[in-house]
């Protein structure tokens, strides 16, 4: 098992004919992901790379191919529209890679998706991978393999680092999910943790947080109350100054709020071990399996 994504997931790609969309769709296909359709308005009827049918609308693509998950690569200014179109076309899982979407657009999208019961991962995220089964997004499949550890993170490359540290020690993952670095993302740590808690294949979970907001603090309390499996954590940004955006739009310390220190302490106060660096958290996760 894995969560959200497996070898049977039927993926459509919104923005498949763009350069990002093309590059990553090729990689996802090569990994074994079932990519059944693409959507680019005005290019319906074409075949992308001679293999994937392209449609003008998400609804057409869903009707024709029974796609049940959408991967979005459209530019930021079209992303709100693309996410809502997917949600209104009967798609159950929407993964939005796009970076730089205005917060106001997401403020409208978020409650709509929740009310509709559609799962949104991202935006501004690397997507998710269930190693050995399917890859939906931009996570490099080469640095991981199937295994018992679930991983959820607000970051991209930092996640790859931790995956790779485990992989080189012979431990793979059930599913790895980057939930995104924006102030409003579709799924939070708790949404993903509750899925990992119920997944029989996942034996331990790694949570990778960073400065800004209070997702980590809320996840810590949730884990103590609701997750029986071992969970270990890492938090990036101990050296981040107040009031500066550290790359991600959501990674900002505001006053005394959102510091890495407070987040690490929140995890530890709930009995969750915190690695001091990516290497240590990978080692803690592996040790937790025994």
């Amino acid at each position: 098992m894995s969560i959200l994504l497996d070898e049977n997931t039927r993926v459509l790609v919104q923005g498949i004919t763009g350069s990002e969309g093309t590059f990553h769709t090729k990689r996802n296909l090569a990994y074994g992901t079932k990519v059944v359709a693409g959507v680019t308005p005005g290019k319906g009827g074409q075949k992308w790379e001679d293999q994937v049918p392209v449609f003008d609308t998400v609804q057409d693509a869903v009707d024709e191919t029974a796609a049940n998950a959408s991967l979005i690569f459209v530019p930021a200014r079209f992303a709100q529209d693309a996410i809502l179109e997917a949600a209104d076309s009967g798609i159950g899982l929407v993964v939005c890679i796009t970076e730089g979407i205005p917060t106001r657009d997401m403020a409208v999208v978020y409650p709509y998706m929740r009310a509709k019961g559609v799962t949104l991962i991202g935006p501004n995220c690397p997507g998710l991978i269930s190693p050995g089964k399917a890859n939906m997004g931009i996570i490099p499949g080469e640095i991981t393999g199937p295994g018992p550890v679930g991983l959820v993170s607000r970051s991209g490359t930092l996640t790859y680092q931790v995956m790779y540290e485990m992989f080189t020690r012979g431990i793979g993952q059930s599913t790895c999910i980057g939930i995104g670095g924006d102030p409003i993302v579709g799924s939070n740590f708790i949404d993903i943790l509750s899925r990992f808690a119920e997944d029989p294949e996942t034996q331990a979970v790694v949570v990778i947080g960073e400065i800004g907001g209070d997702e980590e603090e809320r996840a810590a309390s949730f884990i103590k109350e609701n997750v029986d499996k071992p969970v270990v954590a890492y938090v990036a940004g101990f050296t981040a100054p107040e009031g500066k955006r550290m790359g991600h739009a959501g990674a900002i310390v505001s006053g005394s709020k959102g510091t890495a220190q407070a987040k690490a302490e929140a995890f530890e106060s709930m009995g969750i071990r915190v690695g001091r660096n990516p290497t240590e958290v990978a080692e803690l996760a592996i040790a937790a399996l025994d």
Binding site: R104, T157, Q161, R218, A236, G247
Partner: protein
């Protein structure tokens, strides 16, 4: 993007909000002119993006235009908590009957907009929140429905705003919300919102933060941002499109991806070093971007060494290695040591390229932790 008070008030005017009569001035003569035009008693306020300007002597009352000129002479050029004052706002001084607090902001936890109001205005709201939380009325506004009249009533009655101010305050609140949403703001704050002797409700101060991601749909963002001074390196970074934040240490940092770069800073600090900056080079590890990044980092004279920490995912380490060498070709006078750690996609090829080049500046390290230790050790030997 955090606006200056004068910029925020210009925005407020566009939304029809009541603000004191006045204008920004960059010289004492200009301040005098504004005061003449406004007439009567004026207040001269330093335009800085830091709190506590009143206590620092950055706000002065003047009885007439000559007084405004003298006040501007004193305030312009002064440094408030390290921020140099380049402009003053000259405004009509009104008589204040009572002061309130009002704001709209994004509540990240609730993923909704949050309106806040208090009858305790003109003081630090975080202080009020800590000592007297009951004094602040809060109401969540769904972005799907927008601000409704009941939201405004909950704020006014909840904060026990005096009845005589209700009409004026509710109009200001509605316009504040319109400004917040239409301008893609993450914060619109009025502290204090004042009730004047003649029964008007006016925004006496203004704080606005705008979401730069929405810049493409607001032509005015560029002009607003051009008026906000940047520190030297940050200015260059902005021009070159580099994701850079200046810090105060001696070890320059280049990483790929925001999370990994933040983590690199932390690992360097843990190894006993001081990071000089945050620079996320993203996928742009080609020679030109790398050279721009390295050049930028060493333009800070305190920087004595550089740690390049790359995890190849989509970015290939062999391309990064060529990028680093290409960058160093463009920077022949660079003497500082550079510690490089490459891992992930094509790391073996990348390391081989750097080893064969045997560049005098470059030291390789197999892991992130060893690289951090090496960077710290190499920096210790060099003069501050």
């Amino acid at each position: 993007m955090d606006l200056f008070e004068y910029q925020a008030k210009e925005l407020f005017r566009k939304f029809g909000m009541a603000v004191p009569d006045g204008k920004v001035a960059a010289s004492p003569a200009a301040a005098e002119k504004v005061a003449q035009k406004v007439g009567g008693r004026v207040v001269v306020k330093a335009q800085v993006q830091v709190g506590g300007r009143g206590k620092a002597g950055g706000i002065k009352l003047a009885d007439d235009a000559a007084g405004a000129k003298a006040a501007a002479e004193q305030i312009l050029g002064m440094a408030i908590k390290g921020h140099k004052v380049r402009r003053v706002l000259v405004e009509q001084a009104g008589d204040i009957k009572s002061e309130f607090y009002a704001s709209f902001l994004l509540d990240r936890t609730a993923k909704a907009y949050l309106g806040m109001m208090s009858a305790k205005g003109g003081v630090d709201i975080e202080e009020v929140a800590a000592t007297d939380p009951e004094a602040i009325a809060r109401v969540h506004v769904s972005p799907l429905t927008g601000l409704q009249p009941y939201h405004v009533r909950e704020l006014l009655f909840g904060a026990r705003i005096p009845k005589e101010a209700h009409a004026g305050a509710s109009e200001l609140l509605r316009k504040m919300y319109a400004c917040f949403v239409e301008m893609d703001a993450s914060l619109v704050e009025v502290n204090p919102m004042v009730l004047t002797g003649d029964g008007k409700v006016v925004a006496l101060d203004a704080k606005v933060s705008l979401d730069e991601n929405a810049g493409y749909r607001h032509a005015e963002f560029e002009k607003l941002s051009s008026e906000i001074p940047l520190q030297k390196q940050e200015k260059v970074a902005k021009e070159k499109g580099l994701n850079y934040v200046k810090l105060d240490g001696r070890i320059g940092i280049i990483g790929n991806g925001a999370g990994l770069t933040m983590s690199t800073l932390d690992v360097v600090a843990e190894a006993g070093g001081t990071p000089a900056n945050f620079l996320d080079i993203g996928g742009g590890a080609n020679a030109a971007t790398m050279a721009a990044g390295i050049d930028l980092i060493f333009s800070d004279r305190k920087v004595k060494s550089l740690f390049v920490n790359i995890f190849g995912g989509i970015t290939r380490c062999d391309e990064v290695a060529r990028g680093i060498l290409g960058a160093l070709d463009q920077l022949p006078n660079l003497k500082a040591p550079i510690v490089v750690r490459l891992d992930g996609t094509n790391a073996t090829e990348g390391r081989k390229i750097l080893e064969e080049a045997a560049h005098a500046n470059i030291t390789m390290a197999p892991t992130m932790l060893e690289a951090a230790a090496k960077a710290v050790a190499l920096t210790k030997g060099r003069r501050a």
